[in-house]
């Protein structure tokens, strides 16, 4: 017991050094404090505290607990530094630091071949993302002569007013977006995320609730630059929307709780990117916050899923119900009750309401459901307004084709899911299911590639 106590004391000391260093660094560099920083800092402090507290008993007795806390604190400090950074270079260093310390957590059990493979896969993808960020750093300095955020944003605003966007700036925006996509597990670079369950549950929580958001933070923080490039914005929206639906369709087929959650994270990150691409940075921030809390809780309590009741047979929902459910949206629209600044996102929200209503029986249930729907609508748009106080949404020129395509994709997905029970006998649906169950083979491909680039030593365990 004494041994463990000593280890914990040592780990606590070691762990304390880094936040202190980080804090010292941040104070020395005068942190970039705005509402976004404050909100993100609040979130990450809460998460970090929860995860540290959780790991105390969860990893009790593990010979590596001290090492675990050491790298957990390193990772946490880098996240804080990333949030507080006032210039792009500091930001990029924190970005790299997060990834390198996380790498140590991912191979916390180095005797597990699966853990090593996943860590290596992530390592390779992250370095690709880092090169993009390095490229952006280089281009930024060449164009603006500074890495300081305030100076950069002021310069970006001047450019916007001049309507003359140099190629270098567009390239910078695209590189930033690319780096963010790799960090936030966007298709087709997502496959590292679902394979990282070979590490203790609190690391999963940290990753899925914290670190994965770094891509979103990058885009939201640097939105003045990213919005300068319509191509970058369109790419964000398109890749984000595709990743969102891809991830959530694959998640539907997974039979283990952590893989379900992992593909759900891929999807949710996609949606966050879609929101960024549509200029709804405030909603992206709301999504980031809400998803973090939801996912942290889901991972940390994933052992409770055993008490879940077996699900009942699903019944196919009628198309009529879907249309009926969409009625309130149409009514609200025509009545001008709400100004839909984000027609795509509001559309997706009302589609979701319709889906909730179609499971209810007509009568008292449906009535209460409608009341609940009204309440949820108030909450959603209320939260949107609140989020807009933290981050300004950007006005992006409407891209009607893209918007229509995205809405149509979401509608089709909803329809498809509602018809699943009817599609059970169809051979096309069967094939689709089987490919989806395999994540459309991207994991296996990425694994093979990783094994070829970074072959594993024989790590077989001996008794």
């Amino acid at each position: 017991m004494q041994n463990t106590a000593q280890q914990q004391a040592r780990s606590a000391t070691a762990g304390a050094i880094f936040p202190l260093l980080c804090l010292a660094g941040a104070i020395a560099a005068t942190p970039f404090v705005d509402r976004l920083t404050s909100v993100l800092l609040l979130l990450s402090t809460l998460l970090f505290a929860v995860i540290c507290r959780y790991s105390q008993h969860y990893l009790a007795g593990d010979p590596g607990q001290a090492r675990f806390y050491f790298w957990l604190c390193c990772t946490g400090s880098c996240v804080f530094a990333l949030i507080l950074a006032r210039n792009l270079l500091f930001f990029a260093c924190a970005w790299l630091g997060t990834s390198l310390s996380l790498h140590q957590l991912l191979q916390f059990y180095p005797h597990r071949p699966g853990a090593l493979l996943a860590a290596r896969k992530k390592f390779l993808i992250s370095r690709l993302g880092d090169s993009a960020l390095a490229g952006a750093l280089f281009l930024t300095y060449r164009t603006f002569g500074t890495w300081d955020f305030s100076a950069l944003f002021a310069a970006a605003d001047r450019l916007r007013d001049s309507h003359q966007i140099p190629l270098d700036v567009s390239a910078t925006a695209c590189l930033l977006v690319f780096a963010a996509m790799l960090k936030s597990a966007q298709f087709p670079f997502h496959s590292w995320l679902p394979d990282t369950m070979e590490t203790p549950t609190p690391v999963s929580a940290l990753m899925h609730a914290g670190i994965i958001n770094a891509g979103g933070i990058l885009v939201i923080r640097l939105s003045p630059i990213v919005t300068l490039s319509p191509a970058a914005m369109t790419a964000l929206a398109a890749v984000g929307a595709f990743t969102a639906l891809f991830g959530s369709v694959v998640a539907l087929t997974q039979a283990s709780v952590k893989r379900c959650l992992a593909f759900s994270t891929v999807a949710q990150m996609g949606f966050m990117m879609l929101e960024c691409g549509l200029g709804a940075f405030h909603l992206a921030l709301l999504h980031l916050l809400a998803h973090s809390l939801y996912k942290a809780y889901s991972f940390l309590s994933s052992g409770s899923v055993v008490s879940t009741e077996p699900q009942r047979n699903q019944t196919a929902a009628g198309t009529l119900a879907l249309i009926a459910g969409l009625l309130p949206a149409g009514l609200a629209w025509t009545a001008g009750l709400h100004q839909f600044d984000q027609p795509v996102l509001s559309g997706i929200f009302f589609l979701a309401l319709a889906q909730m209503l179609w499971t209810l029986k007509p009568g008292l249930q449906l009535l209460s459901g409608l009341a609940a729907g009204g309440f949820l609508t108030a909450v959603y748009f209320g939260l949107e307004k609140a989020a807009a106080q933290v981050v300004q949404p950007a006005t992006v020129p409407a891209n009607t084709v893209l918007s229509a395509a995205i809405l149509l994709l979401f509608l089709l997905t909803a329809l498809f899911q509602s018809q699943l029970p009817r599609l059970r006998q169809s051979s096309a649906a069967t094939s689709f299911y089987i490919h989806a169950r395999n994540g459309f083979y991207f994991n296996t491909l990425a694994n093979r590639l990783t094994m070829a680039l970074w072959p594993a030593q024989n790590t077989e365990r001996t008794f």
């Binding site: 008993h57 759900s264 309590s301 490919h435 395999n438």
Partner: protein
Amino acid sequence: MPVELLVTSKETITNAIQTACKRVPPLWPLQNFVAVNPFLGLTGRTFADAARLIDRVGHGPMLMPAGYYAEKCSQQALRPDQIAIACQDYTSSNAPADPEEWLKAELARSSDTTRLLTVADWLDHTKSTSWAIFITDEISKWCSSYFDRALSYWTMPGREATLYQAWKQAASIDRNPEVFGLPDFRTLVRALPDNEEAAIHELLALLGTREEELEDFLHRQLMSIFGWSAWCAFREREGAENLTRQLLAIRLAYDAALLTLAEGFDAGHGETAPATFTTAKYLAQLAAEGTFRANLASKLAHAPASTSKATRKRLQAVFCIDVRSEAYRRALEAQAPGIETIGFAGFFGMAIDFQDSARCPVLLAPRFTVNSTGTPASKWLSKAWGQLRNSASACFPAVETGGLWYGVSIAKRLLGLTKKEAATQPLQWQIGLETRVQLVADALRNMSLDPAQLASIVLICGHGSSTENNPYGSSLDCGACGGHKGDVNARFAAALMNDPEVRAELQRRDICIPAETVFVAGMHITTTNQVVLYDTERLTPAQLQELQGWLQKASASLDDGGTQRSRDWSEVRPEWGLAGNAAFIAAPRSRTRNLELGGRAFLHDYDPAADHDNSVLTLILTAPVVVASWINLQYFGSTVNNELFGSGNKVLHNVVGTFGIWEGNAGDLRTGLPLQSLHDGTNWVHEPLRLQVFVEATRDRIDAVLEAHPQVRELVENEWISLISMEGDVFHERKRSGWRWLPTA
């Protein structure tokens, strides 16, 4: 490939398939994780033979590492005389002069064994590939989808068909093996027959297995996906047909497909590896058990006489035989003179079905249905919310709208505010008077309770655990209640015994329960060591207060912070469960009342004088002893080889289909207990000793039972349990060759 190898007759193959499938033990779901003897299919051989077989086909040990035993030698934890006896028994050679030193030297030596290889194993060993892992993952993928209970929203098409057919449909479309580098797998699968047995015949012809290796080769295939095989074996118990055989066909298909990459593979030609079973290790194991047995025997033979006979009985409390009851019973008895405790299987003889789950030992089938009258609250709104959250397109706005609320859930969990005690719902049943009377009469007799001598309060106390966020929660519940909490059985038993109709009828049959005797139900919460009482309305307030006072004081004397642990969502060791179990004692309580047994013994009350027709002894040896041996061997297997018979590290656990566990990303379904249930991080908390069964009965009576019940005799003679007869202070141990005097000095 020599042609003569392929002419194994169809019948031989069919028999070999059956034999191999029967060697796999069942695995219960996490909802009621009943302890199973992981060597269930191997008890027909001696322990040593089984260990050699597992070494060959499971590539793992059934004993602790040599270093563990060497350390025991160094700590002088093995008595030299016991080493000598083990040596004589097992090797028929005389013990050397200094047994400890000799054994230590012997332990350092290693010998070789031959491990049987699948094609995947062979490729991995010769070409450093990772096919074995890949195949396990592939099979695990389809099995998890096929058997999934509630996790995936979009369930596997073709689940209505058999496992093999559903897999065949999926695998003939699934490109994953080919993407990974297994050529033409879909072609091979499409060409397979629709019947799994025909497929096995075909695949074996491709693999060219030698007849004499056949059973073990098939067993090796099943061991490479041991967890899913065990799950199939469980589903077969529940009524599914030939599932294990179907899984075998699936596993063989992958192996046969690998043949194209495995030039030079020879089925049945194994790989030489250091043996995990050595004579020295087994001698050390025998000596450890011998030491424990001898020490316990001398304690039991010279136990200080019980003094409580003279005082009036104030409370009789019937507890489960579970080892955790032992400590609590001692604490309760210490509260006042006149408190008597009794040990009996925690279902109290009531084999009931409650809300579609069997609340009785798995060796029995439920005979009566009990329901609770409470109506479950309507949860349509939370269901609608769940529907939103799980929808592929609606989950995004759902998270945005409701996600922040999870901050509150996290805060609640952090503060331990999530524990809600479910309100006790009244029970109802419809059982005829005659049956009820018979149930009560049998229960009283089997519990060795003399109706005329009953105390005014009789507590029928089941047990259950209380943990948070713990997939293995039910492994801490009552095995005699089929892996459920014991409250319903206790309440049902107490209600029947209080039933005036039943009592009147019993009186007519000369079974007179005193009118003032009140039966009251309770549940011992093993995590917190508290006792909850149910349906107490028949007790007077004074009686209730007195009873609660005793129970609370007993709980307080055992309190070790369990309440905190029971509410902690990050706790991986909420309680030690049955860790440490090593003995089963069937005797009157007077034999053990003044002994401190350290929570290592199952205590079953048994009074041979009252058991005129040997029926109670038969019941004890054929039911509770077998269940206890399942528990004991589950702990044994999980400790000696957690990789194969245990479920690994809790911090990596990933719940599959809501019924099972993967460790990490994927891999095989895990069986047995997690490491954290056996090991505190520094030391093993469970010492792997086979069950030492001490019975207060003459050798003749025990032999009569063994004669009539070969499955119990097999357990004893093949060294899966030890059986000791206690007659006064004369003890004998039952060996294969017969009874042997056990010194108790």
